[in-house]
Amino acid sequence: MTYVALGVAAWLFVIGAYGMVTSKHLVHLCICLIVVQTSTYVLLSAIGFRAGATAPVFYDISLSTPAVDSVVQALMLTDIVVEATVAALLLALIVQIDKRTGTVDPNKIDLMKG
């Protein structure tokens, strides 16, 4: 069952990278980077999954109930925060590029040739 989820993770990575390579708009490129990051979330939660187990919150269930892996979920949380903040930084850069050059097409900004 989880092989489907793992396959989705691989697909997301590749399709996100494809979007970045063929992008014609910087915001689209940033979102494709987020898609690549999303593939790691799917990968992490698929790795932590146990069939028939419940969430690792033992507020009203006993400690012996089988629960999914809590460590990968904590890693995912850190991952999400990192992604959101990096995206914010990149979007701020994109807003400024639009203001300076009037374009957001990554193929048209030509300053770094050579």
Binding site: M20, V21, T22, L33, T40, L44, V86, R100, K113, G114
Partner: protein, 605 residues
Amino acid sequence: MHFAPFPVVIPLLAAALLTALSGILPRRLIDLIACLTSASVLVVCCYFVHVTERTPIVYWFGGWAPVHGFPIGISFVIDTMGAGLAAFVSLLVLGAFVFSWYYFESIKSLYHALMLVFLAGMCGLALTGDLFNLFVWFELMSAAGVALCGYKSEETGPLQGAINFGVTNTLGAYLSLTGIAILYSQTQALNMAQVGASLASKNPGNVFVLIAFIFIASGFMVKAAAFPFHFWLADAHAVAPTPVCILFSGVMVELGLYAVARIYWTVFAGALEPYAATVRQLFLIIGVLTALVGGVGCFSQRHLKRLLAFSTISHMGVMTIGFGLLDAGALAGSALYVLGHGMVKAALFICAGILLNRFQSVDEFELQGVGKRAKWTGILMLIGAIGLAGVPTFGNFFGESKIEDALDDLGLSWLDTVIMISGILTAGAVLRVWARVFMGWGERRPDQAAGAPKIPMQRETEGQPDRTPWTMWTPAFCLLALSVGIALSTPLRQSIESAAHHMQDVGGYQTLVLQGRVQFKSVPAAEEHFPSFWRELLTAAIAAALAAWALFPGTLGTAGDAAVRVFCAPLRPFRAIHSGRIGDYVAWFIFGIAAYGGFLLLRAA
């Protein structure tokens, strides 16, 4: 032992403090606090270097020591190599703060906060013993680096450089995280020692281990500017402010290589024992390609900062060769190379910053001859160029000779030529710039102005065009003086040699972290002899000849012109590939990972 969190926590706290009080404090006090913080981190890290000579320090955060030998918390494993790197990081950050003292426009105290957090991230990367912790500090470094790179956002150049930097490094980091997750599924651990022990004992098959290795190493190789992941480095350096360039070239990219080395030895060395030859071949290929691409790129640039960036790429290739030999002597050579190269490169970037401050340009042809008014800067640049060539006792010399000794021992002497070519091209380029700018030599061609790069040059400082402030040239002078003298000290060389042996001692590392027992292999006493230096002198001589020929191309007549045409023919596609387009960089990244991974699998499976 108690001081273990200091290098990371104190800069973070200082950054938060500076941001909270940014409206109130005067600029000088902010500078002072920043300098004091980095100086204190330097002192603590030097103390660590001294204390961890025999035994690394293992510090468990939150007091979460291993439960029945299974680690459940995060640890710092501070050994001499890591502590030495952290000390070097803080030294360069201190130099950068002195350079930007008072003359660098800072928006309240945000520049200082960014630099301090950058320092904390780099120290964390050097000292950690946990895979996910490594990823977190890596991302912290990248975020702070992107913000610092795009700092001067009035111009478009920094913005494009910062985006290229941010996107490529983040993409690499997430592939690394994919690798870490894949490893976790097999070993159920995140502590490096635990993962290494688990991989070695379970042996999930060479295909799995090799793929996990290439995934995890990829993000750090992007940071280390290995070919074909090196494109972002030139863009970022061309536009970042000078104190930031000092850090990028001096120590940030080297930390990428350090992370690959650390991961290889603590996590993968046991499981990849039978395939060490293939891994060695892979890193030698990467190193050679990087060194050559960087060298060619360096010599063909006229933008001074971009030229220095390509030279960093080339030297990173040499360091990768040193690591790739998987030998303790070569690793010690790489460490010495990091020290020497970092100091020399930092000093050269400071010279570029001084030129920018006084003459508002970093284009080689625009600056032709104007350097006569800045003689002392010229002398610093000349010494830097000699250091890049590895002339005896300067800069790269000791590191380079150790790597070459190891190459000779392993029967790979032909790679010495690659190292020589890298030195020739990079030192030749800097010598050419020195001669043109500070001596006014070189033919002036009418088409010079037409070839100027479009990257606009922005003022970084409230400049004083008549003289260079002492806060600017003092760090350069000190760093160069250190680079000349530091490797002459035999205790330092021995300390680095034993640090390299400890880094490779996988069993000792795992026993110390997981069981708390000290059981390191004894370090063989190194024979002390002054390395032979005829190769380095030859490099310097050929570099000078190359620079002279570049300055006066007509002197060799028609044969010279024909040689120029042959040499420059591959340059046009070379420069076309370095297009500055982010889509290209991503395509090269994916292709590079697939190629290297395919190489590993086909040779080892």
